[in-house]
């Protein structure tokens, strides 16, 4: 559609347009967050209390970490329904390692992460080699993880009261005033950001989501990389599990169901396309913050929990519709 005489000019225009679009996407999501924040600070005098803001950040941490992992899977055009109950299984196993077996703290934490990686690995193998649709593979894993958590824990919470220092992992404050859980979330986000944009894992995730067959024809071992991508996602699930256990200072085997949808919502609000190929970590972080801010603000305004859900649902529709409008303009 181009003649040589106009190609260069068009090229340049397109390039700047693209740059603007990327920025615009993040600016818009960020602006959304600021608006919600501003609204609640006017609506409630308690909202801007540091204690409350801290609460929001803490609430963001666990779903946020799960959303980071989910971003990779969604970038491939897949979906991960196992992050919620998977996270719980990781909490429970951390409990087994630390509270029941009395292993050293580091080993227990790494063990929790390893269980997460294992969950992801199995998801990846099922998707790649058994060719199960990601929805089915991770739905099955969601149930398996839920069941195993209950079986292993004997349906009772595992407490970490005797494991010295474990609760400090999330609640301690290396930076005074800022809980470690939040630091861990931001550090994890930084790692995820670099992984998505700068490593083969991220590049191939986006590539597979963009056109899986073309990626394969180009000589990328798509099946192997999918296993890697799901495993990376699983690592984040494991991290979420450890942080969750530390925050509650216990592993609650009944928890977890529904978290996966919150994580997916955060990813989607952040502008990642469920069709794959387009994803940003910054978007996911902002999406997770929006989800947590909203829930917190509505609660502070004494809006009943049932209505909070309704509000969150509406925000998801608005956020994704705004994204569609933006993309529509660009096309």
């Amino acid at each position: 559609m181009t003649t040589p005489s106009t190609t260069t000019a068009r090229t340049e225009r397109a390039a700047t347009r693209f740059g603007n679009r990327q920025q615009l996407q993040q600016i818009l999501a960020f602006a959304g967050l600021v608006v919600i924040f501003a609204f609640f600070s006017f609506a409630s005098p308690y909202f801007l209390d540091w204690a409350n803001v801290k609460g929001i950040l803490l609430a963001t941490a666990v779903t946020g970490i799960m959303a980071l992992g989910a971003t990779f899977v969604i970038a491939t055009g897949g979906i991960d329904l196992s992050v919620g109950t998977g996270m719980t299984l990781c909490s429970v196993m951390t409990g087994v390692f630390l509270a029941n077996l009395g292993l050293p703290l580091v080993v227990g934490v790494l063990g929790g992460l390893a269980i997460g990686a294992l969950i992801g690995l199995l998801n990846g193998l099922n998707v790649s080699y058994l060719r199960l649709p990601p929805f089915i593979a991770t739905l099955a894993m969601m149930m398996v993880a839920q069941g195993l958590s209950l079986v292993i824990s004997g349906t009772k919470p595992i407490y970490f009261s005797d494991v010295g220092g474990f609760d400090q992992l999330a609640a301690g404050e290396l930076v005074p005033g800022l809980p470690n859980a939040v630091l861990i979330f931001f550090a994890a986000a930084a790692i995820a950001g670099v992984t998505l944009s700068k490593t083969l894992t991220g590049r191939y995730a986006l590539s597979i989501g963009s056109n899986e067959e073309a990626t394969a024809i180009s000589g990328v071992d798509v099946r192997r990389w999918k296993v890697v991508i799901y495993t990376v996602a699983g690592l984040f699930t494991g991290l979420a599990g450890v942080v969750m256990a530390s925050r509650l200072n216990s592993a609650q085997p009944g928890l977890g169901l529904g978290y996966e949808l919150e994580a997916i919502a955060a990813v989607v609000i952040g502008g990642t396309s469920l069709r794959g190929g387009k994803a940003t970590i910054l978007g996911t972080v902002i999406g997770a913050l929006i989800m947590a801010t909203l829930t917190n603000g509505l609660r502070i305004m004494s809006i009943p929990q049932e209505w909070q859900k309704v509000a969150v649902g509406i925000v998801i529709v608005l956020a994704v519709y705004a994204d569609i409008l933006r993309r529509g303009k660009e096309a």
Binding site: T2, R203, L206, A214
Partner: protein
């Protein structure tokens, strides 16, 4: 000459798919330093043969050799490592990644595990410089036109240190200047240690670029002919197995039955069509039973006119259908008003690749094929079978998945879809792209007979002979404006080119004598 080993050789290769013997005991010899054209009708097995070389398929029987050594690549990557680079008929690009990221996918330069995107961009820049391709490596591929994407595929193939370059209809989407660029690239590539296999349906290109021509028919090897001493007629005869008249305007048939503008009822009138991006005040009328050609260089805005008329893009201006002013806001409105559009980009807008022929053919006609809200599948199968017959679509059955058809046959399925819908106005955009000479003739015949039945047709085409042969009148565009309308019988390629290069005022004095 015969005892020095060929650069690339296939002996007695066969390949079957369920219900189809795509290749049956086929031979091919690529010599050092030559460009070998590979020709055959749609579905003859050309792409399948190339996919054996690139390791996408494994032959059921037969052997392949590279420089005398047996070869059986296990996949595209290994083929690349052996020095075989293939540009496939279907694009294999990742639209969300940038041009540079696409070219070097699977080979990203890294430092400490991190991809060096700056280095990617630099390498792509160097490559484009060498090949003379004016593209920005940082641009996402989704922003490129079909031609731009084709250039990316070409650059990607040449980014490997290839000895054998294989191209499957690389020019189907290119303009003349881009074809020139490609041919220059091919000539630069050929050396005593390299060779090129070139698949095309365009005989003039084959004449120009190739040294020898290998002909396939129905999955079988027919002959290999030296280009210089073989007439196009003979090549075509070998392809289709009979003599065929081509390139002749079927005077009586077209101009006799469709007198064109004079006195005929206007079925579609477009006034002052303008879009934000490109179109400026485009006006034209389409009469009953007329074939109206749209000519112009790539980027002149022909496809944009079609998209604006059917409501796929936003525009201002007045559209009247059968004398009634209508507002067409989207393609569904267009179909309701009896206007069908056959896209130039069949992969993106024309086909449900994962569905079978029946589903594809029925898609736009579904509302007329239901009873009490249920789809009547039996009817669909019957209609699809009729179309397969009428258009000579080569497929083992109507339940074959569209993606498994050869490129040309996919194009016919798209055409069938709109024929079934029975629109009064049919806009066909590059209707014979990727279609073999025989089938081209059939499609010309079909369009002419549709016009004779009182349908009105707009033909957008980059091939001037095609426009001249089909159209009663030709609208010529340049830079989003209509620069003239010619009456088909009197128009010449020269007239069209003159109008097609009538750029804005500042350039109107430039002579265009060399363009015919």
């Amino acid at each position: 000459m015969s005892d020095s080993p060929a650069l690339l050789r296939a002996t007695g290769v066969s390949k079957s798919f369920p219900g189809v013997r795509a290749l049956d005991d086929v031979h091919l010899d690529l010599r050092h330093g030559e460009v070998l054209a590979l020709v055959g009708e749609n579905g003859a097995g050309k792409s399948t043969l190339l996919k054996l070389f690139s390791g996408i398929y494994r032959p059921d029987e037969g052997a392949m050799e590279l420089d005398g050594a047996p070869m059986s690549p296990s996949g595209p990557r290994q083929a690349n490592e052996l020095g075989i680079s293939v540009i496939h008929q279907e694009f294999h690009l990742m639209p969300d990644l940038t041009v540079a990221q696409n070219i070097f996918i699977g080979r990203e330069p890294r430092r400490a595990g991190l991809i060096r995107d700056d280095e990617l961009v630099r390498r792509a820049g160097v490559l484009f410089e060498r090949l003379g391709i004016p593209l920005d490596p940082r641009q996402p591929v989704s922003h490129l036109s079909v031609a731009g994407q084709q250039m990316v595929e070409i650059a990607k193939a040449l980014s490997f240190d290839a000895r054998v370059l294989i191209m499957d209809e690389p020019t189907a989407a290119l303009t003349e200047t881009e074809v020139d660029t490609l041919f220059r690239i091919v000539r630069d590539f050929v050396s005593p240690r390299t060779g090129v296999i070139y698949v095309s349906h365009r005989m003039d290109e084959i004449k120009e670029i190739s040294d020898r021509i290998t002909v396939l028919r129905d999955g079988r090897y027919v002959d290999t002919l030296p280009t210089a001493s073989t007439a196009t007629r003979e090549v075509i005869a070998a392809m289709v197995g009979r003599q065929l008249e081509t390139g002749v305007r079927p005077g009586a048939a077209s101009s006799g039955s469709a007198p064109g503008a004079d006195g005929r009822e206007v079925v579609l009138s477009v006034r002052g069509l303008t879009t934000r991006k490109l179109l400026r005040d485009v006006s034209f009328e389409l009469h009953r039973g007329e074939i109206l050609g749209f000519a112009g260089l790539m980027g002149a805005g022909r496809t944009e006119v079609a998209r604006a008329v059917i409501g796929a893009d936003r525009s201002t201006g007045a559209v009247e259908v059968q004398g009634r002013a209508v507002r067409i806001r989207n393609p569904a409105d267009a179909v309701r008003n009896g206007i069908g559009y056959l896209s130039e980009d069949r992969k993106r807008y024309g086909l449900l690749l994962d569905q079978d022929v029946v589903r594809n053919v029925m898609l736009s006609a579904l509302p007329g094929m239901t009873r009490a809200g249920f789809v009547r599948d039996a009817d669909g199968r019957r209609v699809a079978a009729e179309m397969v017959d009428r258009l000579a679509i080569r497929t083992p059955s109507v339940t074959q998945t569209a993606k498994n058809l050869s490129g040309g046959n996919q194009q016919k399925v798209v055409l069938a879809k709109w024929l079934v819908r029975d629109c009064d106005v049919l806009i066909v955009d590059e209707p014979t792209r990727g279609i073999d000479v025989g089938a081209k003739d059939e499609i010309y015949g079909l369009l002419t007979s549709l016009a004779a039945q009182g349908k009105s047709i707009i033909v957008i085409s980059s091939e001037l002979p095609e426009v001249l042969r089909l159209a009663d009148r030709v609208v010529v565009m340049c830079e989003g404006r209509v620069t003239g309308t010619l009456v088909g019988a009197d128009a010449t390629q020269h007239d069209i080119m003159e109008l097609a290069t009538r750029f804005g005022t500042d350039r109107s004095l430039v002579t265009t004598g060399d363009s015919a």
